[in-house]
């Protein structure tokens, strides 16, 4: 459905995307994750034919975007930069897109209602808030009722209510069998929405995984406190487990509490505390990308 094959894009001496390959299966809602500057926007723009790769290829629905017939009816896109003329009303912005794509003018009012922008449709776009601009972008993306959606940080500028609205909209679109690729630099923001994730860092692929796999990475740690913490740490390490001392007789162990408890019992070690630890999705994301957690 969406294919990126050995994509490389350089801007001068800066390598924005480096030999990146991944694919998005039909009918899935896939998160495209990476810290700011990871190369997400460049990749999405290459998929949409806006950026010429230095090497590699991209395809949507089996063909390069530039070769698609009626592209608005096949692929809808929202990119980070606002792409409406500030002096043109939101409605007129959509009208010329519909005219250029040979779509019925009635579709303009339908998508305006869908993104809940009807009330502001006749106002000039320069007066739109960030959230309204995102909604206008989504309206433009949905104009051709496309089977594929490529969304670059669509939650930017939306308030919590708007984010919930976006999440519900994306779920509804996915239920209709559409393929959605949605970028974000915050895993938690899209974790409840997507089925799969493609994580990149510094232009390179870090991991393709299902959301269930990422959830599993977050689980499976234990916190244990014992008066004999030093001996317990040695035993856990001998068992091949990753152990970290948190001080005050407390250890963090990369294993479930069942395993730690059984090992302690087998060696007669007294425990004062044993609990399951769960890393946040963000911690998993940061660990995968090797990024620093924000202070």
């Amino acid at each position: 459905m969406i294919e990126v094959e050995r994509l490389t894009k350089r801007y001068g001496s800066t390598v924005a995307v480096n030999d990146l390959s991944f694919s998005v299966a039909p009918g899935t809602l896939t998160g495209f994750l990476g810290p700011n500057g990871a190369g997400k926007s460049t990749t999405l723009r290459a998929i949409l034919g806006l950026v010429r790769p230095n090497a590699g290829r991209t395809a949507v629905l089996g063909r390069p975007y530039r070769e698609l017939d009626a592209p608005l009816e096949r692929v809808g896109a929202v990119l980070e930069t606002f792409d409406a003329h500030p002096g043109r009303s939101g409605r007129n912005h959509l009208r010329f897109l519909a005219a250029a794509a040979r779509l019925p003018a009635s579709r303009v009012d339908e998508v305006l209602a869908l993104v809940e922008l009807t009330g502001a449709a006749r106002r000039r776009a320069k007066g739109y808030s960030l959230g309204m601009r995102q909604r206008l972008g989504l309206a433009a993306a949905l104009l051709g009722d496309p089977e594929v959606l490529v969304l670059d940080e669509p939650a930017n500028g939306l308030d919590p209510q708007g984010i919930r609205w976006l999440r519900d909209l994306l779920r509804a679109l996915a239920r209709e069998g559409r393929t959605v690729l949605i970028s974000s630099h915050v895993l938690a923001e899209i974790a409840q929405t997507v089925d799969e994730v493609v994580i990149i860092h510094r232009g390179r692929l870090v991991r393709c995984a299902t959301m269930a796999e990422v959830e599993a990475m977050a689980a499976g740690a234990a916190r244990v406190r014992s008066p004999d913490a030093e001996r317990l740490a040695s035993l856990l390490a001998e068992a091949g487990l990753d152990v970290r001392s948190l001080g005050d007789g407390t250890l963090a162990v990369a294993a479930g509490p069942e395993r730690v408890g059984e090992l302690a019992a087998a060696h007669g070690i007294v425990l004062h505390e044993l609990s399951a630890e769960r890393a946040t999705l963000e911690e998993v994301f940061l660990e995968l990308t090797g990024s620093e957690a924000p202070a």
Binding site: R52, L79, F96
Partner: protein, 246 residues
Amino acid sequence: MTTLVGAEFLKLRTTRGWIGYVLALVVLTGIGTAAQVGSAAEVDLGTPEFQRDLVAGSLASLIAFLVGITSVTVEWRHGTITRTLLVTPRRELHVAAKGIAAFLAGVALAVLAVAVVLAVAIPFIVARDASFVLDSGLGARVGRIVLAAALWGALGAGVGSLLKSQTFALVAGILWILLFEALLTLLLGLVDLDSAADFLPAQALGAFEGSVDDALSPVAGGVVGLAYVVGVSLLGWFRVEHSDVT
């Protein structure tokens, strides 16, 4: 292509940028025509030559050129080029649609300018006891003026695609017409290449519409002008084709 050109006109109509250009054309043409008629000698007023020159004196070509430049560069300035190229990813079609829309805008602007000239000149000339001659000679001149403005519009769109920066393209375009081409003509004259100056764009299109004396024939001027439009549009397409939209 008809669909794309229609969408381009919708873009032009749905912002206020075009109003300034139309107002400038109407006001300056009206004032210019009144000044020409008012300052003309009684003996010249009723002559077909004077009246044909009146029609050729409008700013339709210059305004069409600037409208052509603006219609393209405004997309790069405001980032609307992203959405435009998502709808029309084949960039040669985008450049062609811009050129044709600017060509047609040039036709409309020139027709408006001629209408303004006639609306101001006819009552003024009649009031000075002369008659205005609406003959085939005037019709032919108007036809060439309209076509020249259309070519200027398309040339502007090509220049816009080639330069992309709105400020740079507008300033460079105006300076070329008002200053650089005159300077170049002067320099060519100094090295005994006067006839080469006839092939410069403003000279050639001026010869086509009949506003430049001692130049190429109207047909040759039109062919040279068309060659500029095609050449600059191809360069513009090459630039757009190899541009990343970031």
